[in-house]
């Protein structure tokens, strides 16, 4: 297949259509006959309203042509069945399968890829047994205390995903369980957590696929030192999640080791043992299973070849439309749910590390813009912060609003005849509408240009099942966009140079400042004098 997407007929058709995108402004397009009603996609308990995007039926037809021409769904099906797609043709690359979807393909007797699904099931069973031993007291801390707190030591994919989902589902956690996270090599990060935890009751999970992540090993040492200082045996408290055969796969140092596999990328690893150990400990196995089954359900629906019925694919193509054809460089993820406060940060990683690329899978330079900048904060907080720019700034920001009909805790209050949850939802819808329609006014400072596109994703209630669906929705969206741009969404060569240069700065620091013309030494001198 030609990896220069800009030459494809459907790309060129979309480019032509984008010269006159649909007009959403007040008293013009949005209220048009049955538009709102028709532009709804329902999948796995979620709804996507996209009437507030600048598209019409012609664009939807071109989306389908694009998806077909670039075989997006077929390639997704191949991914789930074990194709080696983490590679760059003709160059040294990771050369691996991409099978994070297998982590949740543990409920059927006919999984898409049997071998990886069997490995996932085996780790899941190991975890279930381990959690049962904690529950019934066969596993206890080295002072004999029951283990009620977990400290998750990891960074990047071993932190953002588990943390975002834990925060999202805190309302469902077991009353006697809580989790803390240490990620940053900043020693203050660990210091603050260690100051607030009873180590005698703490289980520490150290997560690193390679077993060599600098920050994680440094933090593990800090935490081990704290255990020793408290007279506790780390061997009774530390659990590892790491790759098969990594330096951390060492029974002498860990109470238990859970495995992840080379076909699971860090940023896609929430449903592997990377997320499951922490979530299983906090939520219990039943809620964890609901979360995984929600993700699996969405994975299956992502195989639907019809764009209008395939929510992740539709979301991916709406993203391309705004980014490549209307020219907007960023995407705001705006959850109207406080518990999703770290979900944008997780997606920022998952999306930007996957699709922030400049080389196609054929090793040629891309000719179009690839992944956008992803950012966002929960509404309604954001309304009182950066929404001014969304409505009246000179930068146009496409948005994805995420909301729920019911709250998690169900502790609500009615004021002026509506509950807080209703106010939350009303605000979400009002923002999408205001951005789309705008408003004219005699006072130039009270004008709203309108035609600012957004999508609205709504679920019934943010529970483990819906969280799994939402997570898998975005994972599949990101994969589809990578396929569309013909890039490798599964490597991260862009992080290497910084690592090398950090090593040089550390060498300079150890040597002490001197009369050395290297750029590194010059920068250190500039800080010092």
């Amino acid at each position: 297949m030609d990896t220069d997407v800009s030459r494809s007929p459907s790309w060129q058709k979309l480019a032509a259509l984008a010269r006159q995108p649909y007009d959403l402004r007040q008293d013009r397009g949005l209220g048009a006959s049955r538009r709102i009603d028709k532009m709804v996609c329902k999948s796995a308990g979620l709804r996507l309203l996209y009437a507030t995007q600048r598209i019409d039926d012609e664009v939807l037809i071109a989306f389908q042509q694009f998806a077909d021409e670039h075989r997006l769904v077929e390639r997704y099906r191949q991914m789930r069945r074990g194709a080696v797609i983490n590679r760059i043709e003709g160059w040294a690359s990771e050369n691996r399968q991409v099978l994070h979807t297998s982590c949740r393909d543990i409920f059927s007797t006919t999984p898409a890829e049997p071998q990886s699904a069997a490995q996932a099931r085996s780790e899941f069973d190991k975890l279930r047994a381990f959690l049962a031993e904690i529950d019934d007291g066969r596993i206890r801390g080295s002072n004999g205390d029951s283990l009620t707190t977990m400290i998750n030591v990891g960074i990047g994919g071993s932190d953002l995903g588990p943390r975002a989902i834990y925060e999202a589902l805190k309302a469902f956690r077991r009353k006697d369980r809580n989790v803390h996270f240490i990620a940053n090599v900043d020693p203050d990060d660990a210091a603050e957590v260690l100051a607030s935890v009873d180590l005698a009751r703490a289980l520490v999970i150290v997560v690193s696929k390679s077993g060599t992540t600098l920050e994680t090993l440094a933090n593990e040492e800090l935490v081990r030192a704290a255990f020793l200082a408290a007279g506790l045996d780390p061997g009774r408290h530390f659990v590892a999640v790491t790759g098969d055969g990594s330096p951390m796969d060492d029974p002498a140092r860990y109470l238990r080791t859970f495995l992840m596999f080379d076909y699971i990328g860090g940023r896609y690893s929430v449903t592997s043992m990377v997320g499951c150990v922490t979530l299983g400990f906090a939520l219990g196995v039943e809620q964890l299973s609901a979360f995984l089954s929600g993700a699996h359900e969405m994975d299956e629906l992502a195989e639907n070849p019809r764009v209008a019925d395939n929510m992740p694919l539709l979301l991916a193509l709406l993203g391309l439309w705004n980014h490549n054809f209307l020219g907007y460089p960023t995407l705001a993820i705006l959850p109207y749910s406080q518990s999703l406060h770290r979900f944008p940060a997780h997606l920022q990683q998952c999306d930007m590390e996957s699709n922030g690329k400049s080389v196609t899978t054929a090793g040629t330079r891309v000719t179009v813009q690839t992944g956008p900048i992803i950012w966002g904060e929960p509404g309604t907080n954001g309304q009182h912060a950066f929404y001014q720019l969304l409505h009246q700034g000179t930068e146009i920001v496409p948005a994805e609003f995420i909301g729920f009909v019911s709250s998690q805790y169900d502790h609500d209050i009615a004021i002026d005849g509506t509950t807080s949850q209703q106010k939350l939802l009303a605000n979400l819808l009002a923002q999408a509408l205001a951005l789309a329609t705008g408003q004219e006014d005699e006072n130039p400072n009270r004008c709203f240009a309108g035609n600012r596109p957004s999508s609205v994703i709504i679920g019934k209630r943010l529970d483990p099942l819906h969280m799994g669906r939402l997570l898998a929705l975005y994972e599949a969206k990101i994969v589809f966009q990578g396929f569309a741009w013909h890039i490798n969404s599964f490597d991260q060569e862009g992080v290497q140079l910084g690592k090398v240069l950090a090593g040089r700065f550390l060498a300079c620091m150890k040597a002490g400042l001197k009369d050395d013309p290297s750029v590194e030494n010059q920068m250190l001198v500039a800080l010092d004098k």
Copy 2:
């Protein structure tokens, strides 16, 4: 003065220079003679290294011409002395002074604007007396317990700023004190905090300048109900921070009321009573004073007419260079300090709500791009998340790195001969260098284009004094940029339309779904069926 900045000679000179920006790539520009050494600005205990920006001496000369031509420092001086600059010429507008700088101008006998400084001092003295009464037990909870926890109820400027600074300075808080925040109208936000706090020991501070903020009033009711349910008298636990004469300025309902004034915008209100009550409670008056004096110190330095010696002004003009002349739509704020994890969110508000505008102070449409999109997360975490895109993506992201030589807690560990704090700093510098120089490689997937600009801001240690300086640095930077674009950085008309439409959705929800052609009803129906 002509408010169409694009017509000014210095703007046009900058545009001409931007056609060939300085080349930073490896073995080319960055290591050039004395560049790194010369391009350092020192102000109030902070250093700004800007050798990794795509500028040279000619651009710096043009910066000075621009600053002079647009009288940036003179207008800043007028702001601090009470000029009515929150206005749009010829149109209804807030028509107010802008005097957040007076909140910290309480240390000298000759403040820049005496009346507002006297008001600030009076509120500060009231706060000091109040905190002393809590300390010595004259003020206690309604069960007689001492008050050790604060719940901050506010949103936007009444939440993000106080929260960001509290998180940043947690290491310095009194051992017996802690603070929780409730902002979101999402009822789960309040439910989670209320589930974790001993209300008998809690002081609730309700913050709303207008006294009518929907989210804050709803959350106040939720929290009051919880106090009543616990048999506690809210009148003994609730404190207000609000505008003089607002509906919340009501002694019958609050233990004490602290005032803010109409010349202080919410997003600039951290050093007013909006932030001071919370920070004073948590840190004590002495640390609070250090924080305020640090901010004041930077305010004074921002009056230096020489761009190269005026850190906020230089940072502002570097921002213009990247945004308007090199064409980059966003700015990443990347603190290498975990405790600054909410500082980017605060700046996101302060900057985007201030400068996300399309109309000049003369009421005409702007002809240039105004405020960029601000986003960011702490390093080194970000390195394992979105930095892939920063290095190899097709979107170019200018960055501001913020770091410190020493840690806050000083609980550190040496591994391989360097401490975690050294590793943190080495990583920060390595990223700035890698983005600037790039790297060539035979393997196209291992090439780094380079010439990606950044600044490095370094302080000795993140303590209250340095935090005050850093906050004021950014506040002044944002104000200077607003002056440069000739926009009003102090209003927020862009939030109004969403409020109106939210009211319409709520009215539809109360009425129940029906056969109503309004767009609001159509959207609600689309969610429901």
